[in-house]
């Protein structure tokens, strides 16, 4: 489908701004669990949809915010390309705008970099009812502040993403996953040493005494890597990595709170229970523990931070609190783009 609903969305935002009504921006509503729980009249972006431009030779794709992520990925795949940060969908209806607003990345994050690295430009509908364009469709662009990248992971608190331009890359010729039997501490060391070699380690995962390593490249390269790495070849590795990306792996099942600890890759195993499932070469570690303070403290002690990623409805803080001057800046920036405070108010922090 191809439909430009800018005018509809603009009218709704202007009306809400006039009346001071909070809006909850909804794409596919697949990541409703993420961030602080908020109330608000749904502002549905799904009707603003379609790939605006994709010229494979440019390595750039521009699409409307409501375009299904699956449609974007299918278009890229048809041209041998991909979104290198492997974004999670968390449901069939995930949209491109929601993906960028959530700013999440999948198993390839440590290899490919975060989503933010691939944002080239945005057209954004701000809370004061203006349609602004930042960045563009070119690889290098330092004209003006990088407001486009500021939108990556902004949870809709600054604006509604109308169009997004992303850098895309060719798919790897081939992938192969090897599994090694190692305990957590050994696995963290091993994966760090692989990451500083020139080997094309495109993802890693450790759970229950097994380290899974995904490599990409030409078949000849993969043969050479396999000989160097050893371990057991994992058949059907695509579905394994998809189960991590989409959190359909059994580790993620059940109702207990899910904590995401982001710590330096070589940080020693954290003193937490019910986990971990380790991703991103040790930088992302998941736990199913109830006590938030414990997870936050453990992550902070290791030089990182913790996020209450999935929870049964809560009004408590889900992100690590910011230092006071940083929180003040967040509130100031919120006022710049959304002076009436109507877009996803409080989704990130109180007042943001």
């Amino acid at each position: 489908m191809d439909r430009d609903a800018t005018d509809d969305l603009l009218a709704q935002v202007r009306d809400a701004a006039t009346r001071g009504v909070a809006l909850r921006i909804v794409g596919g509503d697949t990541k409703r669990f993420y961030g602080r729980a908020i109330d608000g009249v749904p502002l549905v972006t799904r009707g603003h949809t379609g790939i605006v431009r994709h010229d494979p030779a440019e390595l750039v794709l521009t699409a409307r915010g409501g375009t299904p992520l699956a449609e974007v990925e299918a278009r890229l795949a048809a041209h041998g390309q991909r979104l290198p940060f492997e974004p999670p969908h968390f449901g069939t209806d995930a949209t491109l705008g929601g993906t960028v607003a959530a700013g999440l990345a999948g198993p390839a994050r440590a290899w490919a970099g975060p989503l933010r690295d691939y944002v080239l430009g945005v057209r954004v509908l701000t809370g004061n009812g203006r349609v602004l364009r930042f960045g563009g469709e070119v690889m290098k662009n330092v004209a003006g502040y990088d407001v486009a990248r500021l939108m990556a992971g902004s949870l809709g608190v600054l604006g509604v993403l109308l169009d997004v331009s992303l850098k895309v890359l060719p798919r790897a010729a081939a992938e192969r996953t090897m599994a090694l039997e190692l305990d957590e501490a050994q696995a963290l060391e091993h994966v760090a040493s692989l990451a500083r070699s020139a080997l094309p380690l495109s993802a890693s995962n450790w759970i229950d005494g097994r380290l899974y390593l995904r490599f990409e490249g030409s078949m000849a390269t993969l043969d050479a890597v396999a000989a160097r790495i050893g371990g057991e070849l994992l058949p059907d590795c695509g579905s394994f990595w998809a189960s991590l990306r989409e959190q359909t792996h059994p580790f993620f099942a059940g109702e207990q709170p899910l904590w995401r600890c982001t710590v330096p890759g070589l940080a020693a195993p954290l003193p937490l229970e019910n986990g971990p499932l380790v991703e991103w070469n040790g930088m992302q570690r998941w736990y199913r523990c109830a006590a938030g303070a414990t997870a936050c403290d453990a992550a902070a002690a290791a030089g990182g931070h913790a996020t209450l990623f999935r929870q049964v409805c809560t009004t408590e803080e889900v992100f690590t609190p910011l230092a006071a001057p940083l929180l003040r800046l967040h509130r100031e920036l919120k006022r710049v783009f959304d002076p009436a405070g109507i877009l996803n108010p409080g989704r990130m922090y109180a007042g943001v």
Partner: protein, 485 residues
């Protein structure tokens, strides 16, 4: 302008008298960056040695309402560190320590005055390097690189500064220290690291940077291809990228640039060709081998008249030497030149180059093109003689036309050199009043009194109104005494 004595007293108390320069002779070396057409001798230069001292300087400036401009090595190409009247020039050269190089964590933590190349030098014994490589990398500092989001010849594959930054420590105009990003690159809240990167010293002053180090590639190959016409060469760039290969570098030069480089560097370029392509591939041996074969076939298919693969590192270096010395080489062709920095979608390369040729002819000023073709980042060099009456204005006019062309095809007025004072006018072409107002509001969120690097990077709406009027009338109005870039 005589500096405020109370301000000087505070600065001397914080830094010591020897780190506060006020005499004309001492301040003179800081009057411009690499955009030498713009000069203003600073009234006060301060040389802090610690992040604490930077905080004190900014607090003092805030307290006294004094503008302050941060400066690294002064290699910027857009006048970003040009001193402002009545202001303090904050020189970060003494914060030049590499605090940490950790091969296990693949990172380096450095002070802002450390040069780009020093980082790679310190990482090299561990088989690692810092990827962004602006042409000034021997002199430019990492603080300046963050402020400009510097690129280089290897951006397409290895990224800009922002893609290789993990954490920065930034001092605000209030003197507060912010930590943005983290060792993992992930941090709670908005991605302010990205907002600050490339903000040209308008939002804060970088006092420390933690950068990602990459493993040195196991194999590197450089291929040089000559073409009988520019269009074929430009089309070949798109074909290489579309084939699914991401070269480490993909650089193009037209005949004037190539011939100047050859005369300068004696690097073996085919001077009878009309365009030259340098394609560097890096990675694991099998992958590089496969890509090299594919690129070779592809370039022949695109009409390359000669192909040469560097046989060893020495030849590779020689081939690069011409490209890397292209600016000074072209500089010998005329008394003066302006270096433009537009980026365009690659599909328009051939048309834009042709149009630049037409504009050049119409203006009666030669243009040499040497650029990062893989990124679509053009560096047209406009040659002129400032001694010739009206030549500067004609060159500026031609530059503005080229940048407007870049914007018209969906590009930008600056890919990597920054806006500074040079491109304030062209910014009005690229952005509308809504975006410019948002930029000013972002600036106020960090710096309510507008003390950090005032007047740079984002034009005022009034200036854009003037610029619009000037553009309408072309170069015919007698406005040439006004600084327009």
């Amino acid at each position: 302008m005589t500096p405020d004595p109370a301000l000087l007293r505070d600065l001397r108390a914080a830094l010591g008298a020897d780190a506060v320069l006020v005499s004309a002779e001492a301040c003179a070396p800081f009057e411009c960056d690499a955009l030498t057409a713009h000069r203003r001798r600073p009234d006060v230069v301060v040389l802090p040695s610690t992040a604490d001292q930077v905080q004190s300087v900014l607090r003092a400036c805030r307290h006294h309402g004094t503008p302050v401009v941060a400066r690294g090595a002064g290699t910027g190409l857009s006048g970003g560190s040009l001193p402002v009247a009545g202001g303090v020039l904050l020189v970060l050269a003494r914060l030049n320590q590499i605090l940490e190089v950790d091969p296990r964590r693949r990172l380096a933590r450095v002070q802002p005055g450390v040069t780009n190349l020093e980082i790679s030098g310190a990482a090299a014994p561990h088989g690692l390097y810092y990827a962004p490589d602006p042409s000034s990398q021997v002199a430019c500092t990492i603080g300046g690189n963050v402020a400009e989001n510097s690129g280089g010849v290897h951006c397409l594959k290895h990224g800009l500064t922002i893609h290789n930054l993990l954490e920065i420590r930034v001092v605000t105009i209030d003197g507060e220290l912010l930590v943005l990003g983290s060792e993992t690159g992930e941090a709670p809240g908005l991605p302010l690291l990205a907002l600050l990167t490339g903000s040209e010293g308008m939002l804060g002053v970088v006092v420390e940077a933690t950068v990602r180090l990459k493993p040195l590639p196991e194999r590197v190959e450089l291929l040089m291809a000559a073409f009988g016409d520019v269009r074929r060469c430009a089309d070949a760039v798109g074909r290489v990228i579309a084939s699914g290969i991401v070269p480490a570098g993909l650089e193009m030069m037209d005949a004037p640039a190539m011939r100047a480089a050859e005369a300068f560097a004696r690097c073996g370029y085919p001077v009878d060709a009309e365009a030259l392509l340098l394609c560097e591939l890096d990675g694991l041996p099998h992958d590089v081998e496969r890509d090299l074969q594919a690129v070779e076939v592809l370039l022949r298919d695109c009409g390359a008249t000669a192909l040469r693969i560097a046989v060893d590192a020495a030849e590779r270096q020689r081939m690069w030497s011409g490209r890397k010395s292209a600016f000074p080489a072209v500089g010998r062709l005329a008394p003066d030149y302006f270096c433009m920095d537009g980026t365009i979608p690659r599909r328009h390369l051939a048309d834009v180059l042709q149009r630049i040729g037409e504009l050049s002819q119409a203006a009666g000023l030669p243009v040499a093109n040497v650029f990062h073709a893989g990124d679509g980042n053009l560096h047209p060099l406009i040659l002129f003689d400032a001694g010739e009456p009206g030549a500067v204005e004609r060159a500026e006019q031609l530059g503005a036309e080229i940048l407007e062309l870049c914007v018209a095809v969906g590009g930008t007025v600056t890919g990597e050199h920054g806006v500074g004072v040079e491109k304030l006018g062209p910014m009005c072409t690229q952005f509308g009043s809504g975006e410019l107002e948002a930029f000013h509001a972002v600036k106020r969120a960090f710096d309510p009194d507008g003390l950090l690097n005032p007047g740079k990077a984002v034009p005022t709406l009034a200036r854009c109104a003037d610029y619009g009027a000037m553009r309408v009338h072309g170069g015919k109005l007698p406005f040439s005494h006004l600084p327009r870039f």
